[in-house]
Symmetry: C2
């Protein structure tokens, strides 16, 4: 049984995934790329994953067979397990509980070589709908307080399988990063009676230095104090604290802007590894006036990352205003290129 | 001029090192090892670094020439600059100030190939004395609130030069990680009237599951909720909030235990990359009853590190009790090996 343990000074919870028990020599110092070979996420190999919990298909295909466009399955090597009770326990000044939770894999495409940013909008929208449906379902389990949805793209960002996928982890605690955001945003709200993220969106649109792109319902900005070069936040323009309350139309608009933002990023920096993380309100909270759900894209570029990771202190060699300008430029060039091509071939 | 910027939600300060301005194509996706070639930290090449601010030598050698055993120089490519005023400024809801600070390199050995963990105790003690002397000197500058001392060992942990060195950064703010530790420890003290770290040391000695090693004055433990496999904390057994108040004798004892702990780690996992970070009280604070200075060693081993880095949530596949047992075992084997060798050759 994995364990959740709390750092007594910082209040930070971590998962000890005992069932993944390893010897010291099992940790590779140099990562070797995982490419080629058998892929358990490809169509036809459905029997090599646990039975699916959700799938979207174009037709009437029976479940656990080929024909799906997006498929959600429990992680075969879960960090947390679904059966059992929390058994909260104190050991002297330490706190722990059983590692109860859900750990699922969202297979984003039936095509092994198709990357997330290249998905057609209709299919990217299915991925965002799958996130929503799974959160709504897991919310029914009263043991869970938060569902964390994230995507690791590229090996440097932690991806262990080539086939494009995201993951979700349902947790009996709210992660520290989200607790800190909730507290910071609440303290601003108590003082100003305004949502800090709504204020950020207004200021960014007025200043127009760090806006990457926007559509009617969503906006992508580089944050004022980014941890890494090209860090981006994607926020709904209309205040909303809960991702799971978004309509299909809103999710389609989100897919359009995420797709455009990632295309700008990968045009500018081909093969960039990144983490894509949903920050939303805790389960069974709704209509929080002070919190605003959003996605964060954190590229993994700087070789000094090791330092920040150990120390919690960030040095970023690229001002976000410059990074945003680079992205907008690269989009213009790409569009000119397309126009040139059309003119030449037309 | 670099800038310090504050995230308005989290209160996290980051450095935008504008003077390191780069184009998107300047970020390597795959790190290539930096080995061989000219080394600016080697004896004889003193003129290739800025003039030294401190050096310890065995004899009466004049400064900025060979003969030193430990040498401190300003970083040639500093993340912060020493000249100027803070010019604190608000831009709408954002806060920033000039990136004023010191960024120095502590060259730990005159020998290019000698690693930190292999330094003889007398010379490792000089490194710890150099940390202390530089903190005491930088404290005189009233613009600075904290001196961060850290070491990146191995490329995966962010080291950019082979020659063994640590770094220090004097900051006009207290980093968020330290602020959180101070707050957590103070809230415990207000409730219990005891230092939480003193309580941790007592409980660890009693439980004897996560103690790696100890001597008269210091103890190395694996924390109860470690972020990574083999994370270690080294704490003074006698309560002390300020590293800079440690005597030469105390620093010698610290060197002995750090040396032993790192030898155990590198015996168990050869070539392990790690970050080594001093957590001490802010400048011009003394005798804090609730805070306890310590060093944290954070190995960079798990390939899932990318995820934790982007999300702030940690999954650790190795319980600290098992990791501590592995280290103690590997020490026993190494000692048996030495005894066998002596018996065979003796």
């Amino acid at each position: 049984m994995p364990e959740l343990r709390k750092d007594p000074v910082l209040g930070r919870w971590i998962i000890i995934a005992k069932n993944r028990g390893k010897r010291p020599t099992d940790f590779p110092i140099e990562d070797s790329p995982v490419t080629g070979g058998f892929c358990p996420l490809c169509p036809g190999n459905e029997s090599f994953t646990p039975p699916e919990v959700l799938s979207f298909s174009g037709g009437d295909d029976p479940s656990n067979q080929s024909g799906w466009q997006v498929r959600v399955v429990p992680n075969k090597f879960p960090a947390l397990v679904i059966e059992g009770d929390l058994a909260k326990e104190g050991i002297g000044l330490y706190d722990k509980m059983n590692g109860i939770g859900a750990h699922e894999v969202i297979v984003e495409s039936p095509n092994h070589d198709e990357s997330f940013s290249d998905l057609p909008l209709e299919r990217m929208c299915l991925v965002f709908q799958a996130y929503r449906e799974r959160i709504l379902d897991l919310e029914k389990d009263s043991r869970f307080k938060y569902v964390m949805v994230f995507k690791n793209h590229g090996q440097a960002a932690g991806a262990s399988l080539e086939h494009s996928h995201s993951q979700l982890i349902a947790l009996p605690i709210v992660p520290r990063m989200i607790v800190s955001e909730l507290q910071g945003a609440e303290s601003y709200y108590n003082y100003k009676e305004r949502c800090i993220y709504c204020d950020i969106i207004r200021q960014e649109i007025n200043q127009d230095e760090r806006v990457v792109c926007q559509n009617e319902l969503f906006i992508t900005i580089m944050p004022f104090a980014p941890r890494t070069p090209f860090e981006m936040w994607i926020l709904p323009k209309n205040h909303s604290s809960s991702y799971r309350r978004q309509s299909d139309a809103e999710l389609f608009s989100l897919a359009e802007l995420v797709s455009r933002s990632l295309k700008m990023l990968t045009t500018c920096i081909p093969n960039v590894p990144y983490n894509f993380v949903l920050h939303t309100g805790p389960l069974r909270t709704d209509g929080l006036l002070h919190f605003h759900y959003h996605f964060e894209i954190v590229p993994k570029l700087t070789s000094i990352a090791g330092f920040e990771w150990g120390s919690g202190f960030y040095i970023n060699p690229m001002p976000p205003e410059e990074a945003a300008a680079f992205l907008r430029e690269s989009l213009e060039k790409a569009e000119e290129g397309e126009t040139d091509e059309k003119n030449t071939t037309g």
